[in-house]
């Protein structure tokens, strides 16, 4: 039998278009791995809590100030970053810059408030396994926030340099997706450390 | 040829005995499977085939799939038997006895075993090291406490392994049907001398056990001879910070209790026989026979060593 016709596809997009391209898959793989890291951090918390003696929770009713408003700040920054991404999508540079810089400022604000909150905690890293887990988990998250801030800053710079267009903007989507991931992870960390004690876990 | 001291294909107590038939079963299944696969593999390679050219590609007729089907079905049978038998055996051996005849608190440390005999009456409690005596036919509950790093308590002839983990208390138990000396060994890597952290469980008829127990409750008699008294003083200055001798001025807790040192067959956690010569060598230079042990080499003159030994042999 004769050879089948070779794949003769119709017109194919050249390079990444919009959000779609290999870079999207790459960031997805990165996020999967980083998400797993946080799963293990939270596992460590639940395991330590389940095995611990009473009184392990240094704050049986963790103070929701300033953590709760700070959480809302971070979540809002995701929305603002999304606006920035939309600005790039529509070719509107001012909107894009406002969104990305706005998200940066809000994220930086989150980080500053978090550092303040760390400083007023009545315990230190070496106080106990609870303290170690709290600071290390929020610390890992902070590291991801800092990385996200660097990304947002670079994206803002590149938008300012007019690198992107509605067609070529996968770098922006990838970076903003990472920022969304950082915010989503915070929800899990916040729920674990600040909310589960109220549900009676590890009292 | 005698059975290997740490072997477990035979047993001397009910807890280990419950596992031995299952062990032989899975071993037998394994050996049979290996032999069958070896034969099949060899046959598959050498069995005669038709006359096609060796380089011709054979289309898959895929009666081959039957191999997978039959292979899975035949493997499932011993797997299911093993699963069920495992659950049954686990049920029988896992749980600690509800009313044990004897309760021990064992705290392994680098590289020796602290053994406390518990009792309802505090006057009946005592501490010893590295040699455990039990009565035959009695179920003994062992509470394992973490001392420094993770160790594992294992007397193959009487019971499987249980780890001693700092921060928690693990329960295990053993029982011996036959009188004898059963070797135990630390079974979790714990540092430089993990290799030389053995112990013995001596199972005796109840009367003999009772005699041993009462003797262990005694404090050490004061040394009578001059040499022994000199030796006792040297002991107090060199050894008492770590070792304890009940009845003497020696209450250290980081090393084995030596009140009844001479009642033990082995020293240095199963490393050396408890003879005068070995004892002398051990006391003078522990690092020579057990490098890495936490007992430092002593700086003793020959005279001092002799006196010390004279004292130590009074600790029956």
């Amino acid at each position: 039998m004769a050879d089948a016709m070779p794949a003769a596809p119709g017109p194919l997009p050249v390079g990444p278009v919009g959000r779609r391209g290999l870079g999207q898959w790459g960031v997805g793989a990165l996020i999967a791995s980083e998400a797993a890291l946080f799963v293990y951090l939270l596992f460590a918390y639940f395991y330590a809590a389940a095995s611990a003696r009473p009184g392990w929770l240094l704050e049986p009713a963790p103070k929701l100030w300033p953590a709760l408003p700070n959480t809302l700040l971070l979540l809002s920054s995701s929305l603002v970053a999304w606006i920035g991404e939309k600005g790039v999508e529509r070719g509107r540079r001012a909107e894009a810059l406002t969104g990305l810089i706005g998200a940066f400022v809000m994220g930086a604000g989150f980080a500053a408030v978090q550092v303040y909150e760390w400083s007023i905690k009545p315990y230190r890293l070496g106080t106990s396994s609870y303290a170690a887990l709290y600071f290390t988990t929020t610390g890992f998250h902070m590291a991801h926030v800092v990385a996200g801030l660097v990304i947002l800053a670079m994206l803002a710079l590149w938008v300012a340099l007019d690198f992107f267009s509605p067609r070529r903007r996968i770098v922006v989507s990838a970076g903003v997706l990472y920022w969304h991931f950082v915010d989503a992870v915070w929800l899990l960390v916040f729920a674990t450390y600040y909310l589960t004690p109220y549900l009676g876990f590890a009292r | 040829m005698s059975a290997p001291p740490l072997g477990y294909l035979t047993s001397a107590g009910e807890r280990a005995a419950a596992i031995v038939p299952l062990t032989w079963f899975v071993l037998a299944v394994s050996v049979i499977v290996c032999m069958v696969v070896a034969v099949l593999l060899l046959a598959a390679i050498v069995h005669p085939r038709g006359r096609a050219l060796p380089t011709a590609i054979v289309a898959g007729d895929d009666h081959g799939l039957a191999w997978i089907k039959w292979g899975l079905v035949l493997s499932a049978l011993p797997l299911i038997v093993t699963l069920v038998w495992t659950m049954a055996a686990l049920g029988r051996v896992a749980g600690p006895p509800r009313s044990p005849a004897l309760v021990l608190d064992v705290t392994p440390r680098q590289y020796w075993w602290e053994v406390r005999y518990d009792a309802r009456d505090p006057a009946d409690r005592f501490v010893t090291a590295n040699e455990i005596h039990i009565a035959t036919g009695a179920r003994v509950l062992v509470r394992l406490h973490g001392g420094d790093v993770i160790h594992s308590f294992w007397v193959p002839q009487l019971s499987g392994k249980t780890d001693a983990i700092p921060g928690q208390t693990n329960l295990t138990w053993l029982a011996a049907d036959v009188p004898g000396r059963y070797r135990g060994q630390c079974a979790e890597f714990c540092g430089l001398e993990h290799a030389k952290m053995a112990f013995e469980v001596v199972a005796e008829p109840p009367a003999a056990f009772e005699r041993w127990r009462r003797a262990q409750l005694q404090t050490a008699p004061p040394p009578s001879s001059d040499a022994a008294q000199r030796g006792a003083r040297i002991f107090q200055s060199h050894c008492a910070s770590c070792h304890a001798v009940r009845g003497a001025r020696a209450a250290g807790s980081t090393a084995p209790d030596l009140t009844h040192l001479m009642s033990r067959r082995l020293i240095a956690a199963g490393t050396l026989p408890n003879t005068r010569g070995s004892l002398a060598g051990w006391v003078r230079a522990p690092q020579a026979s057990k490098p890495g042990a936490l007992m430092p080499d002593q700086q003793l003159t020959g005279q001092q060593l002799g006196d010390m030994l004279t004292y130590l042999v009074t600790l029956k």
Partner: protein, 646 residues
Amino acid sequence: MTPAALRVPAIGDDTPELRARLHAIWATAPGWKGWFTTVDHKEIGIRYIVTAFVLLALGGVEALAIRLQLAGPDLRLMTPEQFNIFFSMHGMTMIFLYSSPVLSGFSNYLWPLLLGARDMAFPRLNAFSYWVYLAAALFLYTGFLTGNGPNDGWFNYVPYAERQYNPGLNQDFYALGMVLLGISTAVGAANFVVTAFKMRAPGMSIDRLPILIWGTLTASVANLVVVPAVSLAFFLLWLDRQFGTSFFRPAGGGQPLLWQHLFWLFGHPWVYAIVLPAMGMVSDGLPVFCRRPLVGYSLVALSTVATMILGFGVWVHHMFATGLPGLSLSFFSGASIVITVPSAVAVFAWLATIWTGRPVRSTAFLFFAAMILLFVIGGVSGFMTASVPVDWQLTDTYFVVAHLHYVLIGINVFPVVGATYFWFPKLTGRMMDERLGRWNFWTMFLGFNLGFLPMHLIGLFGMPRRVWTYPAEMGWSALNMITTIGSFAFAIGVLLFFVNVAKSWRAGALAPADPWGGSTLEWALPSPPAPYNFAVIPTIASRHPLWEEALDENTPRSTITRGMMLDTGKETVTTTPLDAIPDRIVEMPCDSWAPLLLAVALGILFVALLLKLWLAIALGALLVLGALILWLWPQRRLLEREPAHG
């Protein structure tokens, strides 16, 4: 000029002119610059393999030292401290620095060729993962050579790993080295996953993938999500040691068992990750020497995935003696017994393939066939330990050491050696010496079994693991001596293998494109292939593109000599994940310094962390940041940005 957003790719024939054009576009720059900046998966793959073989040799020497010390009772060839470092280095080297990287190397080299692709999805990331692997290996061996090698076994239990009991730098070298290595493993895994889903030739649907693809893909998905567990464990250990935290220290409310859970949550999937790709190599290579397709392809592919999925649910079987509740023990014991089922599917498939095929007894075939027996021996000893009460006697004895060597040497080393004999012609353009290969095989096979079969008995006789010596009265002396002799014989066999590789690389007979009559795409390419692999993108119509003629008159044929040329730049095509329909033309990166720079920056950072030099840590972090920004700066050529509008 802005390239057009859409293009109908030109179709053409595989001609010498086209090949010359593509060669000019794809070839790595010559000389040192090219050596440091290459992103060609073939060069990177060979580097991985060579480096892994060097580490195999080092790990082997460590093993021989151990075997000398244990050849007889009460020997004093080394101190306990030296012994502890030697057995820990041996385990770490073999399990982390050899067994996974060697499979990464083979997969790196072969995947694009098997998939009909011009490179992996992320060529720069590929180069980076190699450089970081090399950096981690150097870091860990620097520890060893300065007398600070890991000394708590490869699984490094706490509290013995804590500073209180282990004050030297040994643990810090190990902890930081492993975190560094984890970066390499994770990015490598990401590359394989994306490549498998996007970089296949048109028509190579998911049911036409070689089993090596299934094996490495499964392992990579697993690695992506479990490597963070062990990296985290080592990082937390480092914090405990250097900053006085109490993750694992009971005094502060920490849990020693947390280490074991985190470690084995990683460790058990890991042991499948270091054998499934090798099993894939056997599943692809053995059928060539049986002159027939693999029996039960779909079952083998599915059982690969099933084994890994179940592999996530058995980690506690490494912890049966730690005092866990009965319910937990029962569940994990059951799961560990059940997992034998999918892992056995491949064994039956291989036996059936040999039986119903016409075996050609090349050296590669001997290694592939022998591994089946070794797999089964390793598998059944594992089955024995799955039963909790039996495990309570077997665990931490030499029985487990026998088990793990049968599974690692049987299901990793033997397939790797077989794979080398099989694919060496493709990688180097030369054939290996078949006569020396016979000697190689029999020495390795007989030596290995002489060394490790008696080890089962030593274990049943109660010899514990990780002991630097043993007394004469234990009844282990004669068997240990036999094991030592066997180990040396096995080592001679491995040496013969290295000799064969070295001499054949220099002076072996020149190899044709298809010396074995293979069925998959790599055998359609020259030996070795051109930098661009495929001059035209093939279209695939079956699992065995090169056997279609021989197998069946009536099935459609794959097209290999005519297809998309994609020669207007350094470009290739990506396809949809399941059905492999072309969906995009992508521009591929050229040689780049960025991967090496980032790896060097990470190396500096980790050395600074080891020595706790705060200024250097800050500098290292800045260098890492700089290298990342350099790498990720959007490039016009890669269509990550467009020139500003006027």
